[in-house]
Symmetry: C2
Subunit: 280 residues, 2 copies
């Protein structure tokens, strides 16, 4: 069986930047997981003493608080500054963008629609910047039930599928006077998705590596499944079931933007060793 | 054979308004045809002494100049005012809107894309409001050859098909940071198009009545043809070829926004008299 990596996969600019910031700030703590990959979080804890807390009130004046790549809510950020916490901002610049757009559009009188997962920390953060509120949707069905102004601003979670975003835009544009569509899907997401599309079409089995709570990994998995029935989403090599590869000729591999190279290597080595013991 | 009119057809708000303005201003002249229907223009000339000139310089101080429903170019309007011409503005308010948007967006630093026919007077007018220029396109192919800014404002000729406009929007949105889509297709156009879609699906033959140079009539004809092979675009009853109705069970009829009721009635009577001599 051949094993092939997607043309683009794994760590994006924002994640690399955040990890560098964390490594440079030993003994700081992140508020919520820095990225959606628990194994990398463990490495930062073990090798760089970077802590993790979900309890906002645990930060005291002088503490170093790292803001996660997904960003946090506007009020929380203001509170940290107010309490003299030393704030180290690792928010991905591609997430800062929809936050800024949401605030500007809300204040300019637009009805702001955010396409994304209401429960995801990125979207909780983005929504909190809407001075006069915003609606979060994942489907046209939700839009149908809404009464909206004639001027709409549309932003997307950075890790969404562009085709799904376009469905929302296509519903809104013919129905409202002005729809201001901001392309806030990040380039790395776009490139990883395109590459997974390409490789999943020509593979008999697809392995997508990444945190189970990672939005962008879930989108990659969804694209892989669309083109290859035998697609699997794993966090690391321990989750591989080697019967997946029985009678398969070609295996495609990709990984989410928060999946470190060392995990990807472990997965590749594990498959090669078991399936192709003689290959390098 | 049954004969059925589309649910919405014919004169729109802007055309009715312009004709009322012309009738109220006897001895005025329109600069270019008031609407794209030569028979109605003849009626205004014969019954209301409303003249027509294509020569801009023929207007002298004190003359009454009627601005056509499609609007004119910004410089020409300024020139008329400067020369103390008595300007009577019959520009459709739905055309004034894209003119205003084009000026505002051009001055706000957007690359303005106008979806429409560069040679149509409406589009010549709209484009003239782009302080820093605008591009007029009818297809994605033309866009592909263009180098554009990251911020794009998109407006449409008021009489275009919404599906064609969405194709342009769908090309631009994933490729640029912000696409501000203005839904400038007028409601009457939209409703007439929907109605033609509905009736052409259930008709054996379709008759679309309107000026051969009328953009909205051409769009209605195009929609009719998509659903009914035996579709015909005529200006009046003299163009009917009665062999069209041979062995047909149902005839659908619609008319463009610049087609007066009296022409539609003549067409209907003509078909009824020849095909169903006993029907009322």
């Amino acid at each position: 069986m051949t094993i092939q990596l997607a043309k683009n996969y794994g760590f994006c600019f924002g994640v690399k930047r955040a990890i560098k910031i964390a490594e440079d700030n030993q003994s700081a703590s992140t508020y919520g997981p820095l990225i959606h990959n628990s194994k990398e979080i463990d490495r930062l804890k073990n090798d760089f003493k970077v802590g993790l807390t979900e309890d906002f009130t645990s930060f005291k004046a002088g503490d170093k608080a790292i803001v996660r790549t997904h960003g946090i809510q506007k009020k929380e950020l203001q509170e940290l500054h107010k309490n003299d916490i030393n704030v180290i901002d690792a928010t991905c610049p591609y997430v800062t963008k929809p936050q800024e757009i949401t605030q500007e559009m809300s204040e300019a009188g637009y009805d702001v629609i955010i396409f994304g997962d209401e429960k995801h920390p990125e979207i909780k953060g983005v929504k909190s910047y809407a001075t006069y509120g915003a609606r979060v949707v994942t489907s046209i069905e939700e839009l149908k039930a809404m009464s909206l102004k004639e001027k709409i601003a549309l932003v997307s979670q950075t890790t969404r599928k562009v085709e799904d975003y376009m469905e929302i835009a296509n519903y809104l544009i013919p129905r409202y006077k002005e729809v201001r569509v901001f392309n806030t899907i990040c380039n790395a997401t776009f490139e990883n998705q395109e590459a997974v599309k390409d490789i999943s079409i020509i593979s008999d089995v697809m392995i997508i590596i990444g945190g189970k709570n990672s939005s962008n990994t879930k989108q990659l998995f969804s694209i892989a499944k669309d083109n290859c029935n035998s697609s699997y989403h794993i966090e690391d090599e321990n989750e591989i079931d080697f019967t997946w590869f029985k009678d398969k000729q070609s295996c495609g591999v990709s990984a989410g933007a928060s999946t470190p190279d060392w995990i990807i290597q472990n997965v590749l080595n594990s498959i090669k060793d078991k399936i192709n013991p003689k290959s390098s």
